[in-house]
Amino acid sequence: MTFSIQRSIVSGRRGTTQKLWFTLFRVAAAINVLALFAVILFIITRGLSAISWEFLTQMPRNSMTEGGILPCIVGTASLALGALAISFPVGVGTAIYLNEYAGQGRIVSVIRFAIANLAGVPSVVFGLFGLAFFCTVLKMGVSLLAGALTLGVMSLPVIIGAAEEALKAVPDTYREASLGLGASKWQTICRVVVPSALPGILTGSILALGRAAGETAPIMFTGAVFFTPDLPTSVFDEVMALPYHIYVLATAGTHIGETRHLQYGTALVLIALVLGMNLCAIILRSRLRKRSRV
């Protein structure tokens, strides 16, 4: 049931107080939405002129003051997909364990504690970890693989959270019905629970993918580089990435003034990518909600 107090009319002093506060609440909400639109509009209006087929499909040229951002797009896509390839199986497996098997034992509370804290670790600390562990100890160096692994462990809590929520949303009656028919637990999970939760899990994964694509700090020391002339051909190659590209063009670059339009263009491509994925997920989810309500 959706609860709504919209239609209440209140008179007198109490009505005035209410009006005042409600206006404040509305303004707060409006400011946040306006901020969103301000950022998006700003980037779109400035960045649109930079966008062209060449921009999307060519290599950067002339100290990255001309040409396109193809390697950044390819790099970001491979980093994000690589991250998902790592975090999806682990995350979904963990969620299934926690939601379907785990009781309230010691191990489970330690697992939950670890996940909650993992979710709070700052992204730059993930970067340090990736540098020390993947790049150095596992000798991956600065590479696509190291970057994807770092992003992967970072998005793990997101995937676990989303998958657990999707599994929780599967009515217990499905599980009871299946078990009541003499299905084993694993059969119940595979045939009833996971299929019902799958759309929700996928939605969460798209969101995690979008988030991984937009992260900068974790790949700064682990996967992304200022410039590389080739598209990655193996997982041990260094890559360029959209967020890092924006950062270096805007602050660490050599021709910051001249490359403004490229910065806007790159930012536009990045937010189009990330918001596009989010929008997909949101639409998918609201469809699901509507469908499941029937």
Binding site: N62, S63, G141, V142, V225, F226, F227, T228, P229, D230, V248, T251, A252, G253, T254, H255, I256, G257
Partner: protein, 247 residues
């Protein structure tokens, strides 16, 4: 073949010009080029993740130790000269500062432009990140090893300094000559204008050589590339990139 260059942002415009010319002459060679600062360049050679490490300062004792510990012998190649130019916002009427005034400003002792004959405006001191070669040079040539005020804003690159000075009325920063453009105004140091001429004749006090480091004596492609920079044609490109040729 493939060459990987990393490091100093000061050297970057030179390396860029040279690489493009070199790749035009040798279509089979791919050159990958990235910045990050001098420390990064030397680190890359030590870690053997780059064939050439660009640096706007000489290698430090600690770095040599680290390198030899890994069996790497960093060899420096002087490829150009550079002068570091203090820059301010174009609207700022100040056009000459003594070395000591610069030092006092960067020590945080002089905080207003009127103390150096300018308008009544707070000075926004902008510096390079502490691990850059330019910062290193500034520290030894201007600061005489004293510490830059912690109030100084920092930027990770020459380019970053230029844009920030261009948009900040009270700003002062120092950049490599190659990055000078119309958006910022160069300040004379003790009456001497930073240029190729004053650097070569030794009158300009804040200048330094630029280096490329290789692991051991260069061979093959790398050697070819270094030779190209040091050639007459290469040095012409150095001039074009805004730095100062060796000869």
């Amino acid at each position: 073949g493939r060459l990987v260059l990393k490091g100093s942002t000061t050297v970057l415009p030179i390396a860029q010009k040279i690489s493009e010319a070199y790749m035009a002459a040798h279509p089979d060679v791919k050159i990958s080029l990235s910045g990050g600062g001098s420390g990064n360049g030397i680190k890359a050679v030590v870690d053997q993740t780059a064939d050439i490490g660009n640096s706007s300062r000489f290698i430090k004792g600690k770095e040599v130790k680290l390198a030899t510990g890994k069996g790497v012998l960093p060899v420096p190649h002087r490829i150009a000269l550079d002068c570091i130019v203090p820059v301010i916002h174009p609207d700022n009427p100040v056009d000459d500062l003594s070395l000591d005034q610069l030092k006092q400003i960067y020590l945080g002792k002089i905080t207003n432009w009127k103390q150096v004959g300018g308008p009544d405006k707070k000075i926004v001191v902008i510096s390079r990140d502490s691990s850059s070669g330019t910062f290193d040079a500034w520290k030894s040539l201007v600061m005489k090893k004293e510490r830059v005020t912690p109030r100084a804003l920092t930027q990770p690159s020459n380019g970053g300094l230029v844009t920030q000075v261009a948009t900040t009325k009270g700003a002062i920063a120092y950049i490599a000559l190659g990055y000078m453009n119309k958006e910022v105004k160069a300040v004379r140091v003790g009456g001497v204008k930073g240029s190729a001429e004053t650097t070569l004749n030794g009158r300009y006090p804040i200048s330094r050589p630029l280096f490329m480091f290789t692991n051991g004596w260069p061979k093959g492609e790398t050697l070819d590339f270094i030779n190209f920079i040091l050639s007459r044609k290469g040095q012409a490109l150095v001039e074009e990139a805004g730095s100062i040729s060796l000869y």
